[in-house]
Amino acid sequence: MFPDLVEILLVEDNANDAELALYALKKHHIANHVEIVRDGAEALDYMFCTGAYAHRRIEDIPRVVLLDLKLPKVDGLEVLRRIKSDPHTCPIPVVVLTSSQEERDIVESYKLGVNSYIVKPVDFEQFVEAVRQLGLYWVVLNQAPIK
């Protein structure tokens, strides 16, 4: 594996949640390189190599994007829509990882082409387990479309 290849892009505005997710991934040795962005605009910059990420090579795509829905600036659903409507980024698996159990969020996400929708459990053990499983599935088991 390339050490600087980003395996997971974590879009999360809540620093605690981000840290806990990172903790869970590290604990189970799933991902070595997780890039964390704090809002929707940053996420789009990263994905489309603009702004602060203008220097990034667009070919280096993450194996999976973990996307929160409630984000500052540009919200998660908009980020999802942009990713899935661009031919370069649409094959990248996007997993929504959110606190929202709202049916309309779930329905809307699937309509936009999300690959998975996971509600963050309040219980930490369950949360760690959820992150472990999805990391294992999307980063290790799942065959990504583009190498």
């Binding site: 809540n14 605690n16 806990l20 959110t98 929202s100 459990p121 309040v122 930490f124 053990e125």
Partner: protein, 589 residues
């Protein structure tokens, strides 16, 4: 000679009696009419002259015969004047009959009587030399024997009767146009009175002499008087219709076959802004093209602008056909619907305003609903995140740094995440509860018994290792939302299982009461800890709990959810319990 006149004696007597009786009838039955005296007098005169005729015939003595013969003529002097009186009174000209005019009218009859009874001196009535022949002849006075006064008398009598007829006809023609045809009827009825005497005068009557005169006068006057009163009554209808046409507020325009205005009532004059005198005879198209264009087709509406403000008129057109089916006239009824239209417009306006208000209110409600949704969304999202952090980091502490922590610290950390979990459950319960209010109902026929069995099976973990006795009564099917009603049964049955935990054998009874009136009442009865009925009011409130968390876990949302679902179905839920003796929950759908 003598025998010749006896033939008509019975007839004359019969006629005299008839006239007298009719006079009596007229005097009695028509006494309240102004015409009765004239009528009765006329009939009495007829009776007198026919009786005189009979007496003249049966008396052999010449002098007596002459006297009765003269009495016949005396009788003749009365009916014409009486007829004139009758006509005057009938046509409302009774006031003309003052003492003076009465005297004036009686001058000629009195003079005639004087001439009759002094005929031997001057012979003005008939040739006195022929008196014996005349009174012995069954015939009427021969024309050749008649004197000057006789002709004068006849001329005067006819003049007076014609004058009477003139007044009657004038009355009819003047009062209403529609009486026109009746005037001719009256004239026809007066013919016998005119004709009878003529027949006698010229001796061409098929009846015995004098009788046709008397009969003619009597029949004529009686039929005229009856006909008049009958026609008057009958014409109340026509006249009242005429009055309606004149007074009704709807305009009525009658046009002839050439679309020329034939009649116009006052309302139509007002609505069309023209006088009948100017309009009648003119083409409708010229006076009101708008009306013309619509009225030729059918009913409709037209707006006229003749006055300051436009008036909207509702048109009803009826065609009048002749016996061949051709349209000879059309009657156009105009109704002014301007005010009605305005009221209608006002109602429409009010309705629109009302609708707008409903739209506004709906928008407000929708906004309130959106706010609520936003609230529950942020509850689900924002309140969970800190909880997760509290739980997560205290867990990390516990797992990764336990060895470095004093034992008390570990216990405190456990308390922290136990409470975190409880708060998570509370948030979930609250969200589930609020979501229920927004979720639409999908009602369908449901097999309640089957549903209850399924729910019990799903709660098997609650029953594991316990003695649970379940008695399932008859459960009729119901109409409801399957997902929501399943939740009701889950909550009630899991409550029953939860609160019987302390019993050696949990007894749970599920059944249905079917009252005579109203919907079936489902119930879940247990032998658990029950509760104090004092607090039954709090039972269905959100987060209301009647037991401590140590005794029984739970969030206090379950029964609130049950109540909300039942209420949304239009049903009712209530409970009965006793501390330590179990509880029963009832509900209807």
């Amino acid at each position: 000679m003598f025998q010749g006149v006896t033939a008509d004696i019975p007839l004359s007597i019969f006629a005299a009696v008839g006239f007298a009786l009719t006079a009596l009838y007229v005097a009695i039955a028509r006494r309240h009419k102004p015409t009765w005296t004239a009528g009765a007098v006329m009939l009495l005169a007829c009776a007198e002259l026919t009786l005189a005729r009979a007496l003249q015939s049966i008396n052999p003595d010449l002098a007596t015969r002459v006297f009765w013969y003269k009495m016949i003529y005396a009788g003749f002097t009365i009916p014409p004047t009486a007829f004139l009186y009758l006509a005057l009174r009938y046509s409302g000209l009774g006031s003309v009959l003052t003492l003076r005019t009465k005297l004036l009218f009686s001058v000629f009859p009195v003079l005639t009587n004087a001439v009759i009874f002094t005929n031997e001196i001057h012979g003005w009535m008939w040739n006195p030399a022929r008196t014996a022949f005349i009174v012995n002849s069954p015939d009427f006075l021969p024309v050749t024997d008649a004197g000057t006064w006789y002709w004068l008398f006849i001329a005067y009598s006819y003049f007076v009767m014609c004058l009477g007829c003139f007044f009657l006809v004038r009355l009819l023609v003047r009062s209403r146009k529609i009486y026109g045809w009746q005037a001719s009827t009256v004239l026809v009825a007066a013919i016998p009175a005119m004709l009878g005497p003529i027949l006698d005068i010229f001796n061409v009557s098929p009846l015995p002499p004098f009788v046709s005169t008397a009969l003619g006068l009597a029949i004529g006057s009686i039929s005229v008087s009856f006909l008049l009163s009958f026609l008057r009554r009958r014409d109340i209808l026509t006249v009242s219709r005429d009055a309606i046409t004149q007074s009704i507020s709807d305009g009525i325009v009658v046009v002839d076959g050439d679309d020329r205005i034939a009649d116009l009532n006052p309302a139509a004059e007002r609505l069309m802004g023209m006088r009948a005198a100017q309009a009648i005879g003119k083409p409708l198209a010229q006076l009101s093209p708008e009306l013309q264009s619509i009225s030729t087709h059918q009913n409709g509406e037209v707006t006229l602008h003749h006055a300051n403000e436009p008036r909207t008129l509702d048109l009803r057109v009826s065609a009048v056909h002749d016996w061949l089916g051709h349209v000879v006239s059309r009657v156009i009824v105009l109704r002014d619907v301007t005010d009605w239209k305005q009221a209608e417009e006002e109602i429409r306006h009010l309705n629109e305003e009302l609708e707008q208000r409903v739209v506004d209110r709906t928008a407000q409600l929708e906004a309130a609903n959106k706010e609520l949704e936003a609230f529950s969304y942020s509850v689900s999202h924002d309140l969970r995140a800190p909880l997760r952090a509290i739980d997560g980091f205290s867990r990390i502490l516990l797992e990764d740094y336990m060895p470095q922590l004093p034992p008390e610290a570990g216990r405190y950390l456990r308390i922290i995440f136990e409470n975190t979990l409880q708060m998570g459950r509370l948030i979930d319960g609250l969200l589930a509860f609020s979501r229920l209010g927004r979720k639409p109902l999908y009602k369908q026929q449901m097999d309640t018994a089957d549903l209850v069995r399924q729910v019990f099976d799903s709660l098997s973990s609650e029953q594991a290792g316990r003695q649970v006795e379940i008695s399932l009564g008859e459960l009729p099917p119901c109409q409801g939302d399957p997902v929501l009603l399943r939740q009701v049964w889950i909550n009630l049955l899991s409550n029953a299982l939860k609160f019987t935990r302390g019993q050696e054998t949990a007894k749970i009874e599920i059944g249905c009461l079917t009252p005579e009136e109203g919907p079936p009442v489902y119930f879940v009865k247990d032998n658990g800890v029950g509760f104090d009925m004092q607090y039954v009011g709090k039972l269905f409130g959100v987060f209301q709990r009647l037991h401590s968390a140590e005794e029984f876990d739970g969030t206090g949302v379950g029964l609130a959810i049950v109540q909300r679902i039942i209420r949304r179905h239009g049903g009712r839920v209530w409970a009965e319990a006793k501390v330590g003796a179990g509880a029963t929950f009832y509900f209807t759908i």
